[in-house]
Symmetry: C2
């Protein structure tokens, strides 16, 4: 999450999911942005999803079956090699990426659910609808596969959709562009995390920041990273959800392949596996897995 626009939330969600799958993990990604860019990045178009429930249907209608909303994006064998997209294999559990797609109607969900905010019902729709997948796993043929990760891609706002994600999440990853304005919004972001953790999700933690579109040679980037590290270190003793937050390594360098691959509906690992973008996200995935597993 990050309320600032265009900082790499969607690119990070798609790339980390694919990188986890290449390590044999099972990842459910949820597109909370009415703009639907996560789905596009993963090769799913509006037509593909027209005949099945999407996140909007799930949030508004308890009758919409959550299993029908999940679509398989890619499968890997347990060592992470991509296998065909057939459902329900036998033997060892596959890794892979599954998606609950968004819908343009999500843009109105805040007004549509406004009447049910006071009770906290509107803020817990993802808890209520997706919780079962976290608990029971996702349907794959006639078996259910337990999930290793659920990644939620938020829109650039601190509204009801992002609050739903925070109410459900175990940890928050904050993609940030190493520009001045990135730091400026961080205080408000953390305040929102604090309020949601108080009201709805006491176990919520901010595990760390991902530096996106990092221009390694510039003074600006260096200063922003230094200021960010200082900010996080000052907060270590405070017993806040971000007291343990780190800057994940490595930073993700600016790389044209990461800008190109969404137009092919592919992650950078399919589109340009030798690029800096693939290398950086692969190493980042290793750091996130190591960091998360000790939480």
């Amino acid at each position: 999450m990050n309320q600032k626009g265009g900082v790499g939330k969607t690119t990070t969600t798609a790339s980390l999911a694919a990188a986890f799958a290449r390590r044999g993990k099972r990842v459910l990604v949820i597109d909370l942005d009415p703009q639907g860019h996560l789905g596009l990045h993963l090769g799913v178009t509006a037509d593909d999803v027209a005949d099945r429930p999407n996140l909007y249907d799930l949030m508004l209608d308890d009758g919409a079956p959550v299993d029908d909303s999940v679509r398989c994006i890619l499968r890997t064998d347990e060592s992470g090699v991509q296998s065909d997209n057939g459902a329900g294999g036998r033997g060892a559990l596959p890794g892979g990426v599954w998606l609950v797609p968004s819908d343009v109607n999500l843009a109105g969900v805040e007004s549509e659910l406004a009447g049910r905010m006071a009770t906290g019902w509107a803020q817990r729709r993802i808890v209520q609808r997706i919780g079962v997948l976290a608990r029971d796993g996702i349907l794959d043929g006639d078996r259910r596969l337990p999930l290793d990760f659920i990644l939620m891609d938020c829109p650039p706002s601190l509204g009801l959709l992002t609050v739903n994600a925070l109410a459900f999440a175990r940890e928050v990853i904050v993609p940030m562009q190493t520009h001045f304005l990135a730091l400026e919004g961080l205080g408000r972001l953390l305040k929102t995390v604090f309020l949601v953790s108080q009201s709805f999700n006491p176990a919520l933690l901010v595990s760390g920041v991902v530096l996106c579109m990092h221009e390694t040679q510039t003074l600006l980037a260096t200063e922003v990273v230094r200021d960010l590290q200082a900010y996080l270190d000052q907060n270590r003793k405070l017993e806040m959800p971000w007291s343990e937050a780190v800057i994940f390594q490595p930073p993700i360098r600016r790389n044209i392949r990461l800008a190109e691959c969404p137009s092919f509906g592919k992650t950078v690992f399919d589109y340009a596996p030798q690029s800096n973008g693939a290398e950086d996200y692969d190493r980042l995935a290793g750091s996130v897995i190591a960091h998360t597993s000790h939480l």
Copy 2:
């Protein structure tokens, strides 16, 4: 406006305003984004504005005096040379930039005004409150200065704040990053323009697109520009608000100075007047003035 995040809306608003002022024009800029980055870019902090009405106050309370919400950012003499920031000079009318700052509470304005959407009152708050400045000019000492331009910086969404801007504007400028996802959202953006022009503002036009953070050497940027030009050209005969839309020249090249200057609360013209960023926005300002004056 552009619902996609981080594409250069704020940078373009601040830089064009300063470029216009350097040509002796008088520009009112209005920050519609609860994140308040336009104010920051122009050197205005939350403390500076605490004792005066901001845009949230104007939209919620008809009693808040609009003249009090306007603050002078910079003044130029009529040939565009920056003069000191004193109010109410004599003689020839100065150019300059004036700001109506935003406020974090704007994030809630959609819910707060939800009950008054049906009548169209909520969508026309800017028309109602700012219209008087367009008509009578802004207060400068004991005289009123007529405005040459009003620039409204929108948040990354197509919600009530952006609708307010569209209901008031004469023309729409769309900053776009020359990446794939930029084109993908354009259809929805234009649909919103169409709906608002139908309901509230029949004279509304899309004058054109500003290409931001343009990476001139890349194939991706070249292809995106070509696809965009084709899209605009196909729409020429349709009698839509964007039938005459152009791609403004020149594109704004990616330039680290444009990323650095907000942290100093300065426009690129103060911070790095010899940079590519300053040159590109200055030339763009000339194109926009030429294009706009024939509308």
